[in-house]
Amino acid sequence: MVPLGHYLILSAILFCTGTMGVFLRRNVITMLLSIEVMLNAVNLAFIAFGRTMGSADGQVIMFFVVTVAAAEAAVGLALVIALFRHRETLNPDTFTSLKW
């Protein structure tokens, strides 16, 4: 049985990878993909904790996280399409209409 710490370190590495993507990339679609990476890192931590504590709650929470991720992807991608239609670009630095 692999100790819990291994899974937590892996989860942290994946989460940091996703965070890095959100901050470094200049493409809205890739930023959304990085958010998916972060959500998956959290899912892994939930399931590893659930297994260690001997309860199925981790898997139920993972189920809800997947649902939220699906809703987020649907709304986020609709926003991307609307933005692309108006600006013809995916670079978030150009969406500055609300900047004072």
Partner: protein, 177 residues
Amino acid sequence: MGTDLLLFYLFGGAAVLASLAVVLGRNPMHSVLLLIVSFAALAGLYITLGSPFAAVIQIIIYAGAIMVLFLFVVMLLNAHREDALLTPGASGVKGPIRTGAVLGVVLAAELVWALVKAGQAPDGELAAGAAPNVEALGSVRALGLLLFTDYAFAFEVTSILIVVAMVGAVVLAKREL
């Protein structure tokens, strides 16, 4: 080295490499396809954790549904031209770099703290009151019982969330209201 440790390093390494390639790759299409690889590796990890249902959800919903949505949008927008990564040399990027550095330090500090704490607590303490049969916990029956009793309210709220997301996506993506 036991078989499960070997599997952990295999799947974990694949997940980390694929995620790094997703984040650092130039082409959004490659990023989406590599993210599916990462999800498959995570599904393998879920199986080694005794959660086959989670692995199946991961493949069917994440890799099957959400990633197909991403693929559709990438192909629809046909935006292959990529802007450069934010690098310290570029103009007007001091703010994000600084914010990212601060957040990275905070994240690293939290990680070290959590790992130190996790190292102190023996696994037995976390597993206090654990069910003796871990395999049964991963069964669809156990999950369904939990989902429709303790988590019934959250489950119903989920349906409202999905309706809202659906309506929102339709409204946002419509050419004109």
